[in-house]
């Protein structure tokens, strides 16, 4: 177990910079998830940590040592690939013990490590089978077993759950979390699925176009996104962005959506948004979970308004509603028995205590 540091890491392919200067410090035992859309550079960064790609600029340190030129086999890392990369001609046991056999570990030691890892991953009966006889989920467990058995300084996961079906993904997510609780190895995990990021990570690194947009705990990213990209990437369904402007009415600041709709700002926000020019074009960022059906009693910061619903999606435990405000499609989550119907009006409530204001031009969260 060891810490991983990335200092101004750059990756260049011919003229194009896929990774443009990443600074990241991962503490010992930490589970860090690199998340972002395809092409954002997260896999490239992971592969540079693994030594599978050359580093064009900057330094990568594992356990305090600079490993830029060190071949993967000397970095003391283990990797779980998206396509499992199991050796098809070896049994599960041989797959898992390959690294140890290469380093000439004593047979007894190899056996005890395999047994322990197999028990942890619940693959004990599969130990003598070949990969082609296993299902996708089983193969992924074997790939993890191969990594665990080596007891490396760092675990690297490259989108390991992308090839599994939805149900299996949920199951494996829990398995991975359990393994990390037991083994506590520093882990760098790459995924494009923000749900995996939120559920597995100690800290999440959101990447876009080769740069880091924000680093933080899942809660921090959810409640305090720094940019529009992060705000829209984290959380599903995604945050709503409604064009608006700040104005003052009778000395009190409010946010105006349209001619008919304006919400007074909650007290806490009023102070924060005091300095913003009232002429700036802004976006009101509000998550669907904070737009619900209006309730009988009022609470501070919660404002009601009327909307005509375009489409409703009954999900069973809630109903997603879609309507239009100022040209923007807005999503909300209401109780299934709130009476939401396609095309019908509904009285909604928005919880402005959880609002965000963004500058439409810069995308920064204010």
């Amino acid at each position: 177990m060891a810490e991983v540091n990335l200092r101004k890491v750059i990756k260049r392919y011919d003229e194009v910079e896929a990774v443009r200067g990443i600074d990241l410090d991962i503490a010992d035992h930490e589970f860090v998830v690199l998340v972002g859309p395809s092409g954002c550079g997260k896999s490239t960064t992971l592969r540079m940590i693994a030594g599978l790609e050359d580093i064009s600029g900057g330094d990568i340190l594992i356990g305090g040592d600079v490993v830029n030129d060190v071949p993967p086999k000397d970095r003391d890392i283990a990797m779980v690939f998206q396509n499992y990369a199991l050796y098809p001609h070896m049994t599960v046991a041989e797959n898992m013990s390959f690294g140890l056999r290469l380093k000439r570990y004593p047979k007894a030691e190899i056996k005890s490590r395999i047994d322990e890892a197999a028990r942890m991953l619940d693959i004990v009966e599969l130990v003598d089978r070949k990969p082609k006889q296993l299902s996708g989920g089983q193969r992924q467990r074997v790939a993890m077993g191969r990594a665990i058995v080596r007891n490396p300084k760092v675990f690297l996961f490259d989108e390991p759950l992308s090839n599994l079906d939805a149900k299996l993904r949920v199951q494996m997510r829990i398995e991975i979390k359990k393994v990390h609780q037991k083994v506590r190895t520093t882990t760098v995990y790459v995924t494009h699925d923000q749900v995996e990021a939120m559920t597995l990570a100690d800290r999440v690194v959101v990447m876009n176009h080769g740069r880091i947009e924000q680093i933080g705990t899942p809660t921090e990213l959810y409640h305090h996104p720094a940019t529009r990209f992060v705000a829209s990437f984290i959380g599903s369904p995604a945050m709503n962005f409604i064009p608006c402007q700040l104005e003052d009415a009778a000395g009190k600041p409010q946010v105006r959506i349209s001619d008919k709709i304006a919400f007074p700002l909650p007290a806490a926000r009023a102070a924060r948004y005091q300095k913003i020019p009232r002429t700036d074009k802004l976006l009101l960022g509000i998550r669907p979970e904070h737009i619900t059906e209006a309730s009988a009693h009022s609470e501070p910061g919660v404002e009601s308004f009327d909307a005509v619903l375009d489409v409703t999606e009954p999900m069973g435990m809630e109903t997603l509603i879609y309507f239009t405000l100022q040209g923007a499609q807005v999503c909300g989550r209401v109780n299934p028995n709130a009476g939401a119907q396609d095309g019908a009006p509904l009285r909604l409530a928005v919880d402005l205590n959880n609002m965000h204001l963004l500058n439409e031009v810069t995308g920064a969260v204010l």
Binding site: V67, D69, V70, P71, D74, L100, P106, K182
Partner: protein, 303 residues
Amino acid sequence: MTTLTIDKAGPTRKTKYGSMSRDRAWALRWSYFFLVIFAVFFLTPPIYMLITSLKTSAEISAATNPWWVFHPTLENYIGLLTSNQFLRFFWNSAIVSIFVVSITMLISVPAAFALSRMRFWGSTVLGTGVFLTYLIPETLLFIPLFKMFAVIGDVTGIQLINRWYVLLIIYPTLTVPFCTWIMIGYFASIPKELDEAALIDGASWFQTLTRIFIPVALPGLIAATIFAFTVSWAQFLYPLVFTTSTDQLVMPVGIITTLIKGDVFNWGQIMTGALLGAAPPLIIYAFLMDYYIAGLTAGATKG
């Protein structure tokens, strides 16, 4: 929550870090080193053919440095290219090869289509049978075939020995199985949805073959054609057995039997003849190398 107790009881290695860039540099150096050595090994004979072909007989017998031409001349080339006999050989080879290629494709393509797309009684047996015919080499068949054709010649009066057109019947046994195999591979890689779309669009089986399969599998067709041509052109045993009169000979046999008269070897001319004989496949190879290679590997990697 128990922490996993995998202690580092394994042998601890002295942490000697390798260097990726250094390893890669050395790997490249070794690669090029060996590649040059093998290139020299593989290319020496053809280059030597070229060198010798530019020498006069005098220079050859003078036994000066064999690896260099001191007085280059084109007399060997002119001599052969103006020799009716040599041109006859070339013509025979060309005719035979072109016909054989056509015959081969006419047999292979429909057969491959049938075997890869349609189920019929015995199709699997035939598939393995095609593969197994390669286990029966030509050197086993040349004697019975010789006898068979002699017998047919006696019985029907159709002269089958010592005629170049006999080769048109025999060569396909060498080319058809492998070409069929190549085409099966290419046809099999065309998704079934294309067939179904064609069926819905109203095409008959024949139209599906000619309008969809053949255009889509064109690289395979080209590869098979090149293979059939190369094999036909290079044949030595069958023409040696079945053709004996000078005007019936194809290139390989012609060069060897006529240019080597008794104990006198005119090496300048022989090498020129050999080079000219090797030219057509080489030229095709130079321009269509990728199809050539695709034809070879299609059999193995898809089979």
